[in-house]
Symmetry: C2
């Protein structure tokens, strides 16, 4: 089947899930959760094939780890589906309703977007996460997973489709592209008459390719160059904890800190001890000239380091003159993902909150909190680093639009 | 100056208007309103040059009417600017704020988008409307008006820039492209590193050209093929009034009705009288076979008529079997702009509201109400007929994004 045919079928089936009651949608999700467990052997067997193939193809161990499904990870997928079931249904919610001077009642109602294309890579749990969010928000999807996970994805898609069918809804609302060649992506992003949105989840090159060639609007998540700024009025104990957590707790993810900015007036009391903490955790530091006065073992930072998303135990460190220079640095080198200030000073906290326009701006908290689950959205479809439609972690609400509903009594315009 | 340079200057200046207080922004708007009146002779003189050139170039009278500025129209522009001044400032508003189980306080704050490109045609008042909305929402804009209005636009832009300067803000937040050749549009829509959004306001071919070639997200307003469905349970008096108003009150605009759908059970009592009303107003009817049984003088409708946006005193009329066929028709031929049902039946009203996913869905009201001003948004930037970011009339809120703000007390993730 061509991608266009898959998308056409999805579009034709989508009104069925749009009309389904919340109860019915939750029943489908519960059935998926149940069948993921009942069919765990089948899932794990298919996943073993993927892992075997990956090893044959010389795929690295980090990728194989992302690919792997075992009972623990299946339980994780089940938990995620159950969470989506427990969230309120966004569809049909009226977010405001006002009476106009002429008596017309005007409100806005949440509706599903329609059909959404999602392009992703090795992790097969994305198939389940996205399907669950789509079902709950009454959208159809066209999924294109990575070639490495194809056997796992085929079984997972079957589990999902069976659950949808069992509730009398067409399983075509979940379209899955079995041919993982790049041409199918090109085909997908030209379907502006069928898809409302395309979400590429993966490396920067995939996202750039999709953005530059798509006729369908794209939800962009370019990268996370997250900063923590330790202000001169920082509480040092909070600063040590936050800067350790933001860098080390899970360095491979997009909300980990990549650059540490330190106010010059606190550098002497903060940097020597902080660098010792990092040393214990094997974090490589790349510092500006002033940083290297306090941390002799830090490597010199180059201009490229300020732009870098290391996703590793490496950290760029810069001492700044004041909060203005910190904000300037973030605006110039940041990626609009997540930036935090550590300070006890009210005015500086408010300035940082108001003047830094990243998708998440934090005071005295680790950048690692920038996440749909931590914000109370349940699962997330992605983290948008551009401002249109959704900005930051995007959950069920991001998969909806607001239409205007107008109630009159024979009103005409004069 | 190249379009890139204009946009770069706008981007560099935008933080000034982002930081400006609501009072300061309103002062700028009041100053614009005042100077539009003080400098009305200068404005009208420059407009006369445009009109002279248009006449020389054999431009039609409808276009010349759109182009024309006189004291009455200047008063209209002033009223529009004053209305924007009177609206609440969207920037800095926190739309929700929740305490998470771990004590983190997580909210969402409205922020300006940044720099927005607007491409428009003959009407010079758009220059003033867009500038006012941009200033109030703390955005910078790059404007590209039509060549016909270039002299008027240059003076209007000068009035706006002078008012901005007089409050100590850089006038570069309003960028204006003086060269009206098509190449400058191509240049603008490739500036994905500087512009957050492009809004083409004009004919369908302009919008298609921009959509297909833009790397910047586009707010699309394709066309308005609006329907009124007269249900079998319609109150006939309301139906006559609404169907007259929706077609005749201002046929040249996008929220005028283009197709009338009539339930077969009410056709006999509704169509003969309704057609007489239309006849008096010189409305040409193009009907389906059944329609023509009741209205002998109606021309036969072809398949193309169901897709047509006439913007004129022409109306396509179709008798349908039931509400399902009406909804199907709207989904197939409609443009997601505005559709209305006339009915006294509760269940049919709710079905129409829930199942028709156009940007405005109405019960017992004329489609002509679909408009930012009528909905209480003040002026509008445009009417989006695609669901992403904004759907339907788009006012100040549509020019903003929501960033996440997080307040912690040394919180780290475990």
């Amino acid at each position: 089947m061509s991608v266009r045919e898959i998308a056409e079928k999805a579009k034709r089936a989508q009104p069925q899930i749009a009309k389904a009651s919340t109860d019915k949608k939750n029943k489908i999700l519960q059935k998926i959760a149940q069948e993921l467990w009942n069919r765990r052997d089948e899932i794990i067997q298919s996943n073993l094939k993927d892992i075997e193939n990956a090893k044959k193809n010389g795929v690295g161990s980090a990728m194989i780890d992302r690919l792997k499904l075992d009972e623990k990870r299946i339980k994780g997928m089940i938990k995620s589906v159950e969470e989506v079931a427990s969230l309120p249904d966004p569809v049909g919610k009226i977010v405001e309703m006002n009476r106009r001077p002429n008596g017309l009642i005007v409100g806005r109602m949440r509706i599903p977007l329609g059909v959404i294309g999602v392009i992703y890579e090795a992790r097969p749990n994305v198939t389940v996460d996205i399907a669950a969010l789509a079902i709950k928000s009454s959208n159809a999807v066209v999924l294109r997973g990575g070639s490495e996970a194809i056997n796992s994805n085929l079984v997972l898609t079957k589990v999902i489709k069976d659950a949808i069918s069992s509730e009398g809804i067409s399983p075509e609302i979940i379209g899955f592209i079995e041919d993982t060649s790049r041409e199918r992506i090109v085909e997908m992003i030209k379907l502006e008459d069928l898809l409302e949105l395309v979400i590429p989840r993966g490396g920067e090159s995939l996202i750039r390719f999709v953005t530059e060639n798509s006729r369908v609007p794209v939800l962009k998540h370019f990268k996370g160059v997250c900063h923590v700024f330790v202000d001169e009025y920082a509480d040092l104990e909070k600063a040590f904890k936050i800067c350790l957590n933001a860098k080390v707790q899970r360095p491979s993810v997009c909300n980990a800190m990549e650059t540490l900015l330190v106010h010059k007036n606190i550098a002497e009391s903060f940097l020597p001890k902080m660098s010792e903490i990092y040393k214990e955790q094997n974090v490589e530091l790349r510092g500006c000239e002033i940083t290297r006065r306090y941390v002799k073992w830090a490597k010199p930072a180059t201009e490229d380091d300020w732009y870098a998303e290391y996703l590793d135990l490496i950290l760029a460190v810069r001492v700044v003159e004041n909060i203005d220079e910190a904000i300037e640095h973030i605006k110039k080198y940041g990626s609009s993902h997540t930036d935090a200030i550590v300070t006890e000073n009210y005015t500086n906290a408010m300035r940082f909150i108001n003047e830094v326009d990243s998708s998440s701006v934090m005071v005295n908290a680790s950048t690692r909190f920038s996440d749909g689950y931590e914000y109370g959205l349940g699962a997330e479809v992605g983290i948008s680093t551009t401002k249109l439609h959704a900005y930051g972690p995007m959950g069920l609400e991001g998969l909806t639009a607001l239409k205007w509903v107008v109630f009159g009594d024979g009103h005409i315009r004069t």
